[in-house]
C-alpha cells in the first residue's frame, strides 16, 4: 500500500511538473545550415531549462514569416516570439502588437545592461534610445573577391578595389585577360543601393531616414544617388557588372567562377567559403572618392515579443533571450552562420581564441561597421513602413536602367514617385 502511495506521489509530481512547463512558441525564417545551428541552440536551451520549452517553428522566408505573424495576430493565435527582418522593423514598431524588449526586465523586476550589445546593432533596433527587438542575426554587406582570378589577370590579390573607379579598371583587366566575361554582381541589389547611400552618409528618406518620425518622402533622386545609378549602369553596359537576380541568386555565379567579385551579405560567408574552390578574399564595400564617410548598414533579423504575455511566459522568453546572449551560444551562432556575434563579451572571447586570426574573412564586415560613423541617421540605416514595396521599386529602377529601357535619372525618378505614394498610403492606413 505504501509503495503504491509512493508511486502515486511520484506520478502526480511528474504530472504537475510537466504542467508547470512553460511553452514558448518561436517563429523564424532560418533555413539551410542556419536552421541546424538554430535548432541546436534551442535544443541546448531546453535541455538546460527543464521548466521552459521553446518550440522553434520554421515559417518560411522572412516575408512569409511576417505575413503569417500578421494573420495569426489578427486571428489571436500569434506566437510568443517572432523573427522579423530589418525591412519589417517600422511595420512592427507601428503594429501595436509588440512589447518592446527594453520593457521586459523592468516588468520582471530585473535590471539589464543594454550596453553589452554591439553598438551599431543596438542603435539600429532602438527607437529614441530604447531597444525594441532583440538583436539576433545581424549582418552587413561586404565585397567578396576571387584571389585566384586576380592573380590570373596580373592583379595583386591583396589589393582589392577600394573605389568604383578601381572596380571598373580591374574589371577591364579581368575581361581583357580572358579570366571572366562579367566581373561583379550584387546580392540583394536594392539593399546595395541603401548601403551606398549609407556609407557615404547620404539620407535615404526624410525625417532622419524615418527614424525621428514617419518618413514622408525619399531623398533620391539627388546628385549622389544619380551618380551611383549612372556608374552602375555604365559598368553594366560595359559588361563588367552583371545583374544576376535577387537575394542570394548571384552567389552561384561567384562560387562557380563565372564572375570575380560579389557584393553580398556577411551571412553568405560560410556558404561561399565551403562551396568555392578558390581563395576567397573579402574587403569593405567600394566607395566614391571625395564623398563623405558614413557607415555600412545592419541587415538580417531580430526577435520581437508579442504583447499580452503572462508573467510566466514573459519570464520564459526572457530566460531564452538571456541564453542567446551568452558568449558561447553567441559564438556558436557566429561561427556556423557568419552573422555577427551580438555581444561585446562574445567578441572578446573570439579575439582571445584567435578566431579572427584564423579566419580573417570573419573580421572584415565587423571592422567595416565598427570603424564607420555611428552618430548620423544616414549611417544608422533606414526605417520605412512600406519598405518592401519601396525596395521593389528600386530593383525595378535598376533593371530598367541596366537594360537601357530608361536613363538612370529617369528610372530613379519613376521609382521615387511610386515610393512617395507608398509612404503616403502607409501613413493614411495608420490614420496619421
Amino acid at each position: 500500500m505504501r509503495r503504491i502511495f509512493a508511486v502515486l506521489v511520484l506520478v502526480v509530481g511528474a504530472v504537475s511538473f510537466a504542467w508547470a512547463k512553460t511553452t514558448v512558441e518561436f517563429w523564424h525564417a532560418m533555413s539551410g545550415s542556419r536552421l541546424r545551428a538554430l535548432e541546436k541552440i534551442v535544443a541546448d536551451f531546453n535541455a538546460s531549462h527543464p521548466d521552459v520549452e521553446v518550440r522553434p517553428v520554421f515559417t518560411g522566408t522572412y516575408e512569409e514569416t511576417l505575413t503569417k505573424f500578421i494573420a495569426a495576430y489578427r486571428a489571436g493565435t500569434a506566437p510568443h516570439i517572432v523573427q522579423v527582418y530589418e525591412v519589417g522593423t517600422q511595420t512592427m514598431i507601428d503594429s501595436g502588437a509588440i512589447l518592446p524588449v527594453y520593457q521586459i526586465p523592468e516588468i520582471l523586476g530585473e535590471t539589464w545592461d543594454w550596453g553589452q550589445y554591439v553598438r551599431p546593432i543596438l542603435l539600429y533596433y532602438s527607437v529614441d534610445g530604447n531597444l525594441w527587438s532583440l538583436p539576433f542575426n545581424s549582418s552587413t554587406s561586404m565585397l567578396y573577391y576571387n584571389k585566384d582570378h586576380f592573380r590570373q589577370a596580373g592583379l595583386d590579390p591583396n589589393r582589392p578595389p577600394t573605389t568604383w573607379d578601381e572596380v571598373e579598371e580591374y574589371g577591364r583587366k579581368l575581361i581583357e585577360a580572358g579570366v571572366v566575361k562579367n566581373v561583379i554582381s550584387f546580392g540583394w541589389p536594392d539593399w546595395q543601393f541603401e548601403q551606398q547611400l549609407a556609407i557615404h552618409n547620404y539620407l535615404y528618406a526624410d525625417n532622419e531616414n524615418g527614424r525621428s518620425g514617419l518618413a514622408t518622402r525619399v531623398m533620391w533622386p539627388d546628385e549622389f544617388s544619380v551618380k551611383v545609378f549612372e556608374t552602375w549602369t555604365r559598368l553594366a553596359q560595359e559588361g563588367i557588372l552583371i545583374y544576376a537576380g535577387v537575394e542570394y541568386d548571384p552567389n552561384a555565379a561567384f562560387t562557380s567562377g563565372a564572375i570575380s567579385m560579389l557584393l553580398q551579405s556577411t551571412s553568405s560567408l560560410d556558404g561561399i567559403m565551403k562551396t568555392a574552390k578558390f581563395e576567397v578574399g573579402t574587403s569593405f564595400l567600394p566607395r566614391f572618392p571625395g564623398e563623405p564617410r558614413g557607415n555600412s548598414v545592419v541587415g538580417g533579423g531580430s526577435l520581437w515579443v508579442r504583447k499580452g504575455l503572462s508573467q510566466t511566459e514573459l519570464r520564459a522568453v526572457w530566460e531564452f533571450f538571456k541564453y542567446l546572449g551568452q558568449p558561447d551560444v553567441d559564438i556558436y551562432w557566429h561561427k556556423n552562420t557568419g552573422y555577427f556575434p551580438a555581444t561585446n563579451a562574445a567578441l572578446k572571447q573570439l579575439m582571445d581564441e584567435r578566431w579572427f586570426a584564423q579566419s580573417p574573412n570573419h573580421l572584415t564586415a565587423f571592422l567595416q561597421i565598427l570603424s564607420g560613423r555611428q552618430d548620423s541617421a544616414a549611417a544608422l540605416g533606414v526605417r520605412l513602413g512600406p519598405f518592401v514595396e519601396i525596395r521593389d521599386y528600386i530593383r525595378t529602377a535598376m533593371e530598367k536602367a541596366f537594360s537601357g529601357a530608361l536613363s538612370p535619372a529617369a528610372a530613379l525618378a519613376e521609382a521615387a514617385e511610386k515610393a512617395n505614394a507608398a509612404l503616403l498610403e502607409y501613413r493614411l492606413a495608420l490614420g496619421k
Partner: protein
C-alpha cells in the same frame, strides 16, 4: 421539387446542404469580405480601419503598374493559350501517326505535366541563368544575343511563357490524343476518296471535329494562364524584371502578402473576379455556339 422526390420534402435540401455549406464558407463569405474590405483602409495589423469609399479602386485604375500588369496578363495568356494549344495539337497529330515507339512518345509528352511547377521553374531558371545557364550560352553562341531574363522584360515574359507551355504540354497533348482517336475514320477516308490532300483533310474534317476538345482546352488553359502559373512565376522571376511578368494574380499576391496592403489587394481581387467571370462567360457562349458536337 417535391414532384421529383415524392414523400421527401426536405431530403433534397438535406443532400445538397454539405456542398452549399462548403461553397458558402470557403467561397461566398471570403468574397463578400473582400468586397467589403475593398472599401476600407486598414493598418497592417488591423488596429485602425477607416471607410474610404471607392478610393482603392480609384488608386487601382490610375496606377500605371496595374495597367501594365493587365496588359502583361493578356499578352502572357495569349502566348500560353495559342502557342501551347498549337504546339500540343501538332505533337498530338504526330504521335497518333503510325510510328515506331509510339507508346514511348505518348508517355514522354505527358511526362512534363507530372513535374510540379516548382521543379519545372527551377529547371528553366537554371537553364537560362544569365551567368551560368546552358541555354543562355547556347543562344549566345548561335545568335550572339546575350539573354538576361533578370533584366530584360521581354526575355523574362517569353521564358516564363515557354516554361508554362512546356509544363502544361502533357495535359493538352493527352486530351488532343484522345480527341483525335474519337474522330471517325470514315469521314477522313471519305474525304480522301473525294480527292482531298492531308492538309485539307486536317483543316476541313479533323480540326472541326476536334472543336469540343479545343473549346474545353481553351477554357482550362485560360484558367491556367490566369491563375495556376503562379508557382512558375514565383520561382522564376517573382514578377520581375520591372514588373514584366507581374500578371494580375501575382500582383494581387504581392500587394496583399508581401507589401501588406490588404484593402488594395481586395479591390484587385474583385476586379480580377469580374474579368475572369466575363472571359469565362464569353468563352462558354462561343463554344456552345461554334463547337461541333457529334450527336
Amino acid at each position: 421539387m417535391e414532384s421529383k422526390f415524392p414523400g421527401y420534402r426536405l431530403l433534397p435540401y438535406f443532400l445538397v446542404f454539405p456542398s452549399i455549406a462548403v461553397i458558402l464558407v470557403f467561397l461566398v463569405v471570403p468574397f463578400v469580405q473582400a468586397v467589403i474590405q475593398s472599401f476600407y483602409q486598414t493598418s497592417p495589423f488591423g488596429g485602425v480601419s477607416t471607410f474610404v469609399g471607392i478610393r482603392q479602386y480609384r488608386l487601382l485604375f490610375s496606377a500605371p503598374d496595374y495597367a501594365r500588369s493587365f496588359l502583361a496578363t493578356w499578352y502572357f495568356a495569349l502566348l500560353v493559350i495559342l502557342g501551347g494549344l498549337a504546339l500540343s495539337l501538332f505533337l498530338a497529330v504526330l504521335v497518333t501517326r503510325k510510328v515506331r515507339g509510339l507508346a514511348f512518345y505518348q508517355v514522354a509528352f505527358i511526362w512534363t505535366y507530372a513535374l510540379s511547377p516548382a521543379v519545372a521553374g527551377i529547371i528553366w531558371a537554371l537553364l537560362f541563368d544569365p551567368a551560368v545557364g546552358l541555354g543562355t550560352y547556347v543562344i549566345q553562341r548561335l545568335t550572339g544575343f546575350s539573354m538576361n531574363f533578370t533584366i530584360q522584360g521581354s526575355s523574362a515574359l517569353l521564358l516564363v511563357a515557354g516554361a508554362s507551355i512546356w509544363n502544361m504540354l502533357g495535359y493538352n497533348v493527352c486530351f488532343y490524343i484522345a480527341g483525335l482517336q474519337n474522330v471517325p475514320r470514315e469521314l477522313e477516308e471519305a474525304a480522301r476518296v473525294d480527292g482531298a490532300g492531308p492538309w485539307r483533310t486536317f483543316w476541313r474534317i479533323t480540326f472541326p471535329m476536334l472543336s469540343p476538345t479545343t473549346a474545353f482546352l481553351v477554357f482550362v488553359n485560360t484558367i491556367y494562364a490566369f491563375f495556376q502559373v503562379f508557382g512558375l512565376i514565383d520561382i522564376m522571376t517573382k514578377g520581375g524584371p520591372g514588373g514584366a511578368t507581374e500578371i494580375l494574380v501575382y500582383k494581387l499576391y504581392r500587394d496583399a502578402f508581401i507589401r501588406v496592403r490588404y484593402n488594395y489587394a481586395s479591390a484587385q481581387s474583385v476586379v480580377l473576379f469580374l474579368i475572369v467571370a466575363a472571359t469565362a462567360l464569353f468563352q462558354l457562349w462561343i463554344s456552345t455556339r461554334r463547337a461541333v458536337y457529334l450527336r
